[in-house]
Amino acid sequence: MIDLTALQPEKATGGNCAGSCGNHPHSPSAVPQHIQEKIHNHPCYSEQAHHYYARMHVAVAPACNIQCHYCNRKYDCANESRPGVVSELLKPDQAIKKVLAVGAAIPQMSVVGIAGPGDPLANPERTFATFRELTRLAPDLKLCISTNGLALPQHVDELAKHNIDHVTITINCLDPEIGAKIYPWIFWNHRRIKGVKAAEILIQQQQKGLEMLVARGILVKINSVMIPGINDEHLKEVSRVVRAKGAFLHNIMPLIAEAKHGTFFGLSGQPSPTPEELSNLQTSCESDDMRMMRHCRQCRADAVGLLGEDRGDEFSLEKIEHLEIDHAAAMQRRVAEKARIEAEIAAKHAQSAQPLDNTVQLISLDKLRTKKKTYRSVLMAVASKGQGIINLHFGHAQEFLIYEASQAGIKFIRAAKAELYCTGDETCGEAESRIERIIKSLAGCEVVLCAKIGYEPWGKLEAAGIQPNGEHAMEAIEDAVKSVYQEMSASGKLDEIPVKKQTMRA
């Protein structure tokens, strides 16, 4: 058994950088400058960046050294979009070719990650061969990995060598008894180890890896899968501990478990959290010095494009095989595109004078605040294909960004998938119409902002109590949400808390 107190970090003191350096206790949205420089164009680390910059995962790491009850290594479906799923496994030379092809076609690309479908550090030769060559051919691209942490300590020095300054560790627990309910086995020192003993080793390795990365100045994001009844309450403790050890961002994701995925949790009927339960947990873990990632799309291990879109199909091995790419020219285009995006963001900030970092967005609504009246908060859904503007037709939206407008300001809450996890046709899954699925996933929202919307979905949304609004097409999301909120408050719609509050339960 691990003594849990041994995992408690020492209280951060002036000399201990973990958790104390650069904290701004009175301004939750302020990010220290040295971190801001590392995250400003990383879509997974910065909420703002995810509107502008694209990423790709290369599926070079098929092997895994542990088993998680939410993962099934047998499953691969082109209609599925969730972690661990890929269409085409790549060898390092193929992955490099794919990265260069995507980097030439999508100049917004800033990040290449290895996230599986197994664990990148259970495939160290393949992972590091890919990174070595990319560092040489495309030095402008940021490299990152997402790992379960078991093999992390032994590879930290190698990671530091490769200019990898973003690492994600999936940490679901600190208590081996809880771990034994999530991880049936690990492969460790040439043996398969099961049960509490396995979880104990995994947890120790994860915590050690986190400490080693922080000591080397590598930014660490912690992913946790919220599994109701198993680790949901416990994740508050996880969040506190990893924050104190110096993790920069915590991403609590909902368990994905359906019987058709063939996972232990899917088949045992383990429930996933509702969006409301997830959001409540995220809020209770959020603090002045722990940022919550709320824009995660739980993407595939071979996803390509902006978060929320997947252009992987355009870059299959077959399609890129004969492409001739001028690497230097492609890199120049990416560098120019980054400069353009940064200028655009700076111009936008100058205009609206909002805080530079939007990881937690709080835009003051001074006009509302000066009035003595109090208004309730409102959830609004937004259709956007990037750039932080309302620029997408309702019918083309694969997902909606959900913002909460209140007198305190405007805050990004989560992304809601229009098609949930499956994009198959009506014969593949529930015989529910697309609009019905969208209405379910937007439950709790009172407004949907989009560039345009058809007559039929308009009526159905209205009937469901969600007001469609196409009047703010091509406007900045925050400005539009703010102005709709102001209109609603001015027309008396927000005067009192409704007796029967809508829930976000899907």
Binding site: P62, N65, P184, F187, H190, F264
Partner: protein, 79 residues
């Protein structure tokens, strides 16, 4: 004396680099074990390495033709 990989293999590559006698090789439609090279890790490790990391129940058979990891033994899924 040799282990065998059968069609349940998902080609995840986990076993191949662990084999002390390089008996495992990539093949279509799935990885295979060279029976002449396989020692079942005798003399190298306490347990056969391929069977100790393989995530798929039933994908590796022992020399008697029985699943090294029978149904339910790895995933806990018994239905």
């Amino acid at each position: 004396m040799a282990l065998k990989i059968i069609e349940l293999c998902t080609n995840c590559w986990a076993c191949q680099p662990l084999c002390p006698t390089s008996a495992i090789y990539e093949a279509k439609p799935h990885f295979l074990i060279d029976a002449l090279k396989c020692t079942e890790c005798d003399g190298d490790f306490a347990d056969p390495q391929c069977a100790s990391i393989c995530p798929i129940e039933g994908a590796i058979l022992n020399s008697a033709g029985k699943a090294w990891n029978p149904p339910g033994s790895l995933t806990g899924i018994t239905i």
